[in-house]
Symmetry: C3
Subunit: 203 residues, 3 copies
């Protein structure tokens, strides 16, 4: 119940982020719906395709589709009010990537894949919806350029496999990893931490 609530909140936050980007690009209503969809479920869909877990999950459980449609309707109507919720949205989004990361890792473990691939799947679940959104909107994906986002997922995911080596309950490791993803993201945004610049300064 608790997890499901967070899952829905994450879906909502991702969908709204899609709505905002799509409206900035002045897409029509259909475009807004599609962008909200891929932002929310694109990462998990890609993960399911790569593992071979089909039909993909949102086809079998309509909760996601319903959540996203309702979010889009509300988002489009109250788009001017959304700015007042920017902080809550950021929080949902951050909680969302924490949970999505662990969901992806779980799916990888169920498919008997190695830890490094599980971490990749977790990161993909959390961040590739945004990548597909940016491609559809004809932008270079933002997480390839300037956000600590995937890095939080990778480190948090790795921490899970570290924790499970110790004699602690798996549930605790699970929740701790989610908290680490969330904390890393919050800290990175708060202190404007980015990945080290690997380029020389231009003259």
């Amino acid at each position: 119940m608790f997890y499901q609530t967070i899952d829905i909140l994450g879906t909502v936050a991702f969908a709204i982020s899609g709505v905002l980007v799509a409206m900035e690009k002045r897409l029509d209503l259909f475009g807004v719906v599609i962008i909200a969809f891929v932002t929310s479920i694109g990462g998990g869909t890609l993960r399911d395709l790569l593992i071979g877990n089909t039909p993909v999950v949102w086809m079998r459980d309509l909760t996601y589709v319903a959540t996203i449609l309702i979010t889009v309707i509300i988002g489009v109507i109250f788009v001017n009010q959304l700015k007042y919720f920017r902080k809550s949205l950021f929080l949902f989004d951050t909680i969302g990537i924490g949970l999505y990361t662990m969901l992806g890792i779980e799916k990888g473990l169920q498919a008997d894949l190695s830890p490094i691939i599980c971490i990749a799947l977790g990161t993909m679940t959390a961040s590739f919806g945004g990548v597909i959104r940016d491609i559809l909107c004809n932008e270079i994906p933002v997480i390839f350029r300037k956000e600590i986002y995937a890095t939080a997922c990778i480190l948090g995911g790795a921490s899970y496999f570290l924790f499970t080596r110790f004699p602690i309950k798996e549930d605790y490791a699970y929740v701790a990893a989610i908290c680490i993803v969330i904390s890393l993201r919050l800290v990175a945004v708060k202190f404007k931490i980015r990945l080290p610049n690997i380029y020389k300064k231009e003259i």
Copy 2:
């Protein structure tokens, strides 16, 4: 036999729409072939991937590949004459989306998916070839911006599920839904109907 003819005509129309876009972007011959391909079969391929219906259909039935290759050859040679057929092409294309919508819905039903997902699969089959074409050509997909296209598929698809609630033959419902998709598209283009503008006017 009748369906198959329409299917081929739809494939041809979609392939030519790909050829035209690719030539506008001045792609080379290989680029033109690939764009014609994805425009024609991209939507159905994505649908088959998401359902888990692999190897995808054009790998098992070479009719599509042959049709597209012949279309590209003829299209490239007679590109300057294509403008005289613009109306026929538009008609094929419109018939094509009608049929593709119902093909997608059928596949969804075969996979025991719910009506709303079936409608999504139908719309995807009919319209996502064009989306992939536009992404490969580095454009924001045109159906996200200004065409009543997907909307016709969605409404037509929904009408099918409405019809099947009444005691009429399934074949009739099938054909009626195709006609509705086609009519909606024709009417929308004729009267330049677009999705309502969800943006405030700019000053």
Copy 3:
């Protein structure tokens, strides 16, 4: 052993080509890693998805992931020295597409697909990593515009099916086809051969 060495060298060459493109676009470290990945394994991944061969190969054999990560680290550190290896890199890349083409064809044969589809799968394996790289970097894919690349794969792949009609060992046909892909690419680059221009001259 021999094949595996070539496979690794091809993976390295593709990964470095990804690193170079990503750094030109000034992506951050995560972006560079992802672009290196998709350039290397994107073509094979798409092929496996379309055939339904999941979980895709790099999830089950970590050699690829390890190779690419090491390549990225070395590539990023020695990026300024990479220009001195341009010729070797081009050679690896060319050997890579030869081998990848035949790898793709083999997977198609294992899935009982027809020769024309096998050739398409081979070409996809060799060249679609670059296509996905270019899409993620917001460019029209370079092989759609000006390189004899896919054409070498197609002709080399076709030669394999020609050779197997003669009473020669399959291994010989396999190696001969690889050599043909490589030679065609080398000759095309050496003599700046492109696909014939299908456009009229502009005034």
